[in-house]
Subunit: 640 residues, 2 copies
């Protein structure tokens, strides 16, 4: 087998690959995360790269013209290496930063533990507890075994816990105790009904006890380093899910997993994410990786399967059955996560394919399951999950909202990355003001930007209730193109983009279906329980998307119900907050198991009324204007 060197620019990352390997595979080997929504099938055209030097074979396709190929532009997934080469990865093909850090919303930064609901203490028994013990020396009148001596010391302070020994930890215990005057620090993992010794170390090190909470999203992986001795959050890091290179959405990845080695590649990608975040945070905060004793993980059901290296094939086949919703405590090394060799890992339990651990963790941290009052939790994403209930009962459903709000399937769509337009104000005349994430020159529009834009366009009568751009409007920004009518938000000259940033009729159609799917899910669930929105005390908006969402805009376009704004709460990354709480508290771990048992999953496709509701919601804001009294007025004012 012949091997060649491929050098990727910018960055001059070099990698040796086999002759005939694709550039996409080469980039992956080099640790470069590329856009590849279709998972390397040549369908999405997002993995464009420019070959600067060397022998690469590529063929023209719908995404690359023969003219472009002459200039060296190829799709990385279709171009094969035939000799040493140097390749530049186009801006648009690059996942913005391999690891991006952004300040989290206030609720995340200020309170290390999300506000406690009743019965949830901030930190009772963390997943792993380190206890320093000075044991009495044995004598002829007190010669119980070394391990019994440790049990005897620990048990009174920790209730009627049982201890089961971990074999590897007792092999040299006799010498360890005697060389250290019977002064040791014992690490206990809490298994609810019992505790298990996972590590016995000499002397005092009970304060060197750290944990990691992870929320594994399809797009981003968020990790949080916490001190398990004090309950303090030390730092948070966000990185793109490295699996993006194998496909941007869950379905593409499940398909990819069914290929030879596919599952293993996806599994390795997410493990690399986790290890990298752990290493980086430890280095930055001068903490030894070996002092991390526990990792608690949440995420959607597919991500959990891929993390656990479980074949996810049947998740996407009717009747959509996951292999498991619940993996309890295992050694972190068994999952392939590198922390203390004796450290453990646990996963938050989920409910079903569509109501995963990310949602149960979100329910936990929202407090929805602690109150007598009925509340709603909405987690907006490609699959948007909705949970309705209180401490007695909960029903949940998942609406296939599509990826429009995440920047896919819309002409100038972007994820909520720096440079993405998140707010739009249309002024008089031709004036349009935009606010971008990080106040960078605009590159495109993210979900919250589209919602803001749609509200403004609707308010100014630039679209009709059906969502069509009114080409009769006297503005240069509305113009006809080969593919239909579009409205220009930012001209190329003011943008960090290769063309004008615009919204088209087709985009609006996609966005309308997304917002319709979410709203009709909310309505269907509330009606199914014979309630109205009036009887819903609170609506929690969760998810990275929710962080930047303007409620007024969302109500205006009919995405969210028209109730008092004060009844809405943003809870940010409620999944991560819930995972962290599980890391800190036995009570939380019990609660989240109860939640997973209590939630009844409702399959909207089997709900007769859902389709009617959905069709009725494909208007701005809705077919039935009486449902949106405040919006109705706004629109009337806006028109004129």
């Amino acid at each position: 087998m012949t091997y060649y060197t491929v050098t990727f620019q910018p960055g001059s990352k070099k990698v040796r690959v086999k002759r005939g390997e694709t550039l996409l595979a080469a980039a992956l080997d080099a640790g470069i995360v590329m856009n590849s929504a279709c998972g390397g099938q040549g369908l999405c055209g997002k993995c464009r790269v420019i070959v600067k030097k060397g022998a690469v074979i590529a063929r023209p396709s719908g995404h690359v013209t023969s003219g472009e190929i002459k200039k060296g532009v190829v799709l990385a997934c279709e171009a094969t290496v035939q000799g040493n080469a140097e390749v530049r990865i186009a801006q648009s093909s690059r996942v913005e930063n391999d690891r991006e850090k952004r300040p989290r919303p206030e609720v995340e930064e200020i309170s290390p533990v999300a506000p406690n609901g009743p019965g949830l203490t901030a930190m009772d028994f963390p997943l792993v507890k380190k206890i320093y013990a000075e044991l009495p020396q044995p004598s002829l009148n007190d010669n119980i075994s070394d391990l019994d001596r440790i049990y005897r010391e620990l048990e009174p302070g920790h209730g009627s816990v049982l201890f089961t020994a971990n074999l590897s930890q007792v092999k040299q215990l006799g010498a360890l105790l005697r060389e250290n005057d019977f002064k040791v620090t014992v690490s206990l993992v809490d298994k609810d009904a019992s505790s298990e010794i996972i590590s016995i170390e000499p002397n005092t090190c009970s304060n060197e006890n750290y944990g990691m909470a992870f929320d594994i999203g399809t797009t981003t992986v968020t990790g949080q380093l916490v001190n398990l001795a004090t309950g303090k959050v030390i730092a948070t890091a966000i990185a793109y899910n490295k699996q993006i290179s194998f496909g941007s959405d869950v379905i593409t990845r499940i398909v990819y997993a069914s290929d030879a080695q596919g599952l293993q590649k996806l599994n390795r990608a997410i493990l690399a994410n986790i290890d990298e975040i752990i290493r980086d945070l430890c280095r930055e905060h001068d903490i030894r990786v070996s002092d991390i004793m526990a990792v608690m993980i949440g995420g959607n059901t597919t991500m959990m399967h891929l993390l656990l290296n479980i074949d996810p094939t049947f998740i996407r086949r009717e009747p959509y059955v996951p292999t498991t919703n619940m993996i309890d405590i295992v050694r972190a090394s068994e999952l392939g996560i590198h922390i203390n060799p004796n450290g453990v890992s646990a996963c938050v339990p989920g409910v079903s394919t569509y109501i995963g651990p990310d949602i149960t963790a979100g329910i936990l941290s929202s407090g929805l399951a602690d109150s007598q009052d009925v509340s709603l939790l909405v987690d907006i994403g490609t699959n948007s999950e909705v949970v309705l209930g209180n401490r007695e009962w909960m029903v949940g459903c998942s609406a296939s909202a599509g990826p429009a709000f995440e920047g896919s399937g819309v002409t100038c769509g972007l994820r909520a990355i720096s440079g993405a337009i998140e707010k739009v104000s249309i002024g008089s005349g031709e004036t349009v003001r935009v606010k971008t994430i990080g106040d960078k020159p605009p590159k495109g529009i993210c979900g919250s930007g589209y919602i803001s834009l749609l509200r403004e366009m609707f308010t100014h009568g630039l679209i009709d209730r059906d969502g069509r751009i009114r080409s009769d409007k006297k503005t240069k920004r509305v113009r006809k193109t080969k593919s239909g009518v579009e409205y220009v938000v930012v001209y190329k000259k003011d943008a960090d983009a290769t063309r004008d940033i615009a919204i088209t009729d087709a985009d609006i159609d996609n966005l309308k279906r997304s917002k319709g799917a979410i709203y009709s899910a909310l309505v269907t669930l509330v009606k199914k329980m014979e309630l109205t929105f009036d009887s819903v005390t609170r609506i929690y908006i969760a998810g990275g998307f929710g962080t930047y969402l303007d409620i007024a805009s969302a109500v205006s376009i009919g995405l969210l119900p028209d109730i008092e704004r004060s009844r809405y709460s943003f809870i940010g990354n409620s999944s991560l907050a819930g995972v962290r709480r599980c890391l800190f508290s036995r009570q939380a771990r019990r609660s989240v198991k109860e939640i997973a048992k209590k939630v009844t999953y409702i399959d909207l496709s089997t709900e007769a009324k859902y389709m009617d509701e959905y069709i009725a919601s494909l208007f701005f804001p809705h077919t039935d204007l009486t449902r949106f009294p405040s919006v109705g007025r706004g629109t009337e004012q806006g028109r004129g």
Copy 2:
């Protein structure tokens, strides 16, 4: 490094060893089990071999004369390999058979499960249970996870058990279920408070469920293959503990374990024993090793440490603290035992350094802990354990009886192997009749043989009450030698031995101290609890030794108390019976844990009266003849 080939005869076993390696190490490498009571220190002289050809360097010692060295006789532990060599292992240096099988006494063969005490059922929940399940197919209305589907099916039939998943077993579960129409066999390991799935196999194989019970003695390892589906014992095998090559007794092995690699060598030796017995029994009975799902193990505390690869150093240092008395269920592979890769191993819990899992298992199977009546359990060996009590309370002690009854430290002593004299009758004149194990030509005398011999000699007035051979007796069998007076039991011409089989004054002294240690332990324990032997309903005699023991003889020489013979019960290898019961029954596993908690260990060295009792018992049968009324008469008759 230069390597040479050493060929061992008989058998022509060849092994490559480094220049300078000892012949003892070479024999070990070749898988030959040799006598080496001192653990290769050149002290015991038991590892004599004859160098037939080749370059071996040896030096004269107390055990080998220079004349012998000229003939090629050397101690294997002191002779080093300097070139290719051929070596014959002398009969006396060879452990009789590497694996010896003998019919077990009736109690073992007839009842696969020892007689049940109250509250102990023969087989309730074996350590591993295989359950065949035909699961309902999932549908949109019933789309719980695959694992939940299994839980739902199993839980009603198995009480309120909890299941925790084993990660490796769920990775391909989705495909496994669907390829087999949701018909599977699940292996459940019983963890008392919960059950854990260790294996999910396609279709029906719930009858292919086997287990192994092991009793690991210092001298012998006994393994029993059982059917966990039916509760039947399939076969039993006994082998010499391969650790014998590193020393015959517990102390020598503990010392050996402290050398570099020593612990690991001992650990590997016992694992080799276990694997070999498993493989042999499986092959003989046409059972796949992979169908063995569970191994339950008992043995003395030191053997358990060596099995678990735990440093046993502190067992022999005051205050004699073991590292642990209790290791719960672990994967068999974690111990290094080769059965089904998902199979488990568990150890019976012990009490202390001297009251190990062999004794708690023995208590369990004897039924001592089930009755209101007070009973005694005596397990005779180098360390003889005595337990007194009933279902409410138990006290135990260990008497250092020495190895005389096991054939060590006595001139013609042998273990209870074929050819060992186990019974002696002294007739009129010069007639002496002997009975040997296996009715082979006599090679030496085993423990029960010595007891029988002493009784006969005492009855015929050949020894006085102090144990000295009466040289005034008119018989050719009593004769003076350089080292003292001896009595010839079998002349060389009638024996399979290199010299006359005889007993000396020094031998009797050793045997007297052994019997005195055991009897005084019994008395001390009974008196400490303010009881007498009259209030002891039953005396259970356990241990391989006990199997051949003649009670009348043992009482006659003052080894056992003089109570009605009907109150004695032989319970054979009660340790193995108890271990097997733990393999079969959850109730038994709970009971033995309770037993381990209830037994109070009494250290005889701290008992003021023990030494007085001991000194008083160094007579035949005892200083105080009123304690042995039936013996007193017998002796008087015998004299005359």
